[in-house]
Symmetry: C2
Subunit: 431 residues, 2 copies
């Protein structure tokens, strides 16, 4: 093979390894070399694990199985590595217990290339990471380093987390795939909590197959091929609910064009009316996430308040201070009703289409952009994937398209996503 191994998806690399055309060590060494070369410019990593080749060789000695190199957002505990959570005041002592999902992935053959940059405590204050597609632009957040590392071919797959839009938005801005499963599907122990009622572990990758692979590993289920979806058997709903009109005209036009193409290919495509549900979910998202965040970071708030950014103090922390318990409790009650209502709506439509973000990555490193298109789905708990289907005419920067399925319909969502990428996705992700 002539391709540099670091450009491969995990599925491609594992297939070459199985065919004897590639060794695990060569693959991971290639990723390491890519990181060494590109990290000074991209700044995707909070900590690079220098022991990783040792872990790979240990595994080969033990059972001969190949390893899969993964990057982990630095709010998730990995045994033996520090967890800094986007601050400089946390104790850099290596974690003595690791997240359940990390332990499960380790057991299944993953090795951890390092910890990827997060915004401060998973909120909005940016880290140093730059967007590989144009380093003057934000990579988005809070899973900033995870999106940038995958987009820049440093590692095939990264873990991220989403409380508002922290997987989908950076994936869209960096031109990769970002997947947030049904709420509750992946274990969240050992992960810094922001708003536990909606915090979700997600996956950033360069192919639907890689997302499907990691999903199965995280669920400790048999890894199998993603089903071949028949688009003509699927019903899509285009969601033009607010904040639709806040998206750039180009984004809206690209989605309208895409839905026409999808329809022409045989899929059923119609409008879906969820204006009331989405706007209530957005209001409840702010209430619930604010109230819970303020408690979740009580250690930092009470012990290190002076060291927290004004973005954090004036953002979700201030939101939380304005919410009383009665409002919080009635918001949770209303949410239960909205979730039931949405389950009904997803009886009529399989997949909802909406923008992943209002436009391309903003030309700044001081902000990570806006999660207005994502927060309702995060709170509702539906599975979501963003696919890098479009590019802006002027800048060439990527624009994602967000697909949402009914709760627990992740298999259907990934099957549809795979078919859409095959038919309408960019011809190649080659570096």
């Amino acid at each position: 093979m002539n391709t540099d191994p670091y450009t491969l998806t995990a599925t491609e690399a594992l297939s070459q390894i199985e065919a004897g055309e590639l060794s695990t060590v060569a693959w991971i060494t290639s990723c390491q070399e890519r990181i060494r070369q590109r990290e000074p410019e991209i700044r995707a990593w909070a900590y690079i694990n220098e022991q990783v080749i040792g872990d790979v060789e240990e595994r080969i000695r033990c059972d001969g199985r190949p390893s899969i190199p993964i990057g982990v957002k630095d709010i998730i505990d990995v045994f033996g590595l520090p967890t800094m959570m986007g601050t400089d005041f946390h104790d850099p002592a290596p974690a003595v217990r690791e997240g359940g999902s990390i332990a499960i992935l380790r057991e299944s053959g993953c090795v951890f290339m390092g910890k990827t940059v997060t915004t401060e405590l998973g909120h909005r204050n940016p880290g140093p990471t730059r967007n590989p597609k144009d380093t003057r632009h934000t990579p988005g957040g809070s899973s900033s380093g995870s999106a940038a590392a995958v987009a820049d071919y440093m590692v095939p797959i990264c873990l991220g987390t989403q409380t508002s839009g922290s997987v989908v938005r950076p994936a869209s801005y960096c031109g990769v795939l970002g997947y947030k499963p049904t709420y509750g599907d992946f274990d969240k122990t050992g992960i810094l909590a922001n708003a536990p009622s909606m915090d979700t572990l997600g996956i950033l990758a360069r192919s639907v197959d890689d997302i499907g692979l990691l999903r199965k590993l995280l669920l400790e289920e048999k890894v199998d091929k993603i089903c071949d979806a028949d688009l003509s058997a699927l019903s899509f709903g285009v969601l033009r609910a607010p904040p639709w009109e806040t998206a750039d005209v180009e984004v809206r036009d690209l989605i309208e064009d895409f839905t026409r193409t999808l329809s022409a290919s045989g899929a059923r495509v119609a409008d879906i009316q969820l204006d009331l549900e989405v706007s209530r979910l957005q209001v409840l998202h702010r209430l619930i996430s604010g109230y819970e965040f303020r408690r979740s970071i009580a250690f930092e708030r009470t012990k290190h308040l002076d060291l927290l950014s004004s973005v954090l103090r004036n953002g979700r922390l201030a939101d939380g201070e304005r919410v009383c318990r009665r409002e919080y409790q009635s918001a949770l009650q209303e949410l239960a009703g909205l979730r039931l209502g949405l389950a009904g709506a997803f009886g009529d439509v399989d997949i909802v289409i909406s923008p992943s973000a209002s436009g391309v990555a903003p030309a700044t490193l001081d902000s990570t952009g806006d999660a207005a298109f994502n927060s309702a789905w995060t709170l509702a708990g539906n599975p979501v994937i963003t696919l890098p289907l479009f590019h802006a005419e002027a800048s060439g920067l990527p624009i994602g398209c967000q697909f949402t399925a009914g709760v627990a319909q992740d298999d259907l969502l990934l099957a549809a996503a795979k078919k859409i990428m095959m038919l309408f996705g960019p011809p190649t992700f080659a570096a």
Copy 2:
């Protein structure tokens, strides 16, 4: 005052401190002395914090406020103290970040006397703790040390957690009060997860006032007196749903007598039919808690399987292995419906009365008893308090009575509990 300070509730001690009749240091020193004297027999503590008087003096220097001494179940991280989780293989390194609820309590003036014994990973395999009412009997679990330390006057208040019946059962067995709030009311960060969909932080104490005090501190709300409840304005429902018939005849008779007395005092008392709901909740509890527990302890399961007890491996871990994701997801869906249905039932009745446990603490140190009377409410998320209203005729051992209110009706529950303790509670808790 002639009473030894360690016998006081926190509310009583704070009142004496305010009146200048007691000093914080004298109070906490008295508790320490009690611990030193009794610990060899009771074995309630996994770790005793020798720095606590230093913390108290520091607070007095800073703002002159009194401190409240608290014991913390050893699955909850407290900054600077080890967290062993009822195992001997966890790293005894001091925690570098503490739970949100701990940080909130610390900020509000609590000091941490130490870590109380828990069963192995919060499941069923017992620690060394003995029941202070009769040391041949189990204190119950998994908040074993918390219940024993409060019952034995080592400390006025302890934190515990409940996934099945781990606050209510040990409180009932040890003859103290145990309170589990509405699911979601207290922050759970920094606490070993067992089954996040139902894990709840709770309080063990010797008075309703102390529970009300700690609740307000945990909620960061103004501490005020618990309202005076008018029992004749309240409607009680007696729940004789299964597992009612598995309770000892003595327990059932005591509850029947009590409800007659309650009725004679003017309260409305009627039967409540929730057989179907309770039995489904018990089935779902086993499914959901098993599935989630297996993931939550993935670190221990993958790295230290040989060091886990057979009780744990053959208990909830084996339960979890038998549950597939589809069953888990449909259990969560069914739970959402059951919670809505229960909200309707609590429109007709204010407080449900049922046994806290099937009988007195079993005469063994090899088991912590059974949570059959508690698990449905833990999963449903309703607030629950057990009150030490009864004693067994033969052994004199305590028997609790369990009171459950509607979701978010914690204030009403505590007000009723206070009135019930005043009218029908034991005349004194004096040592």
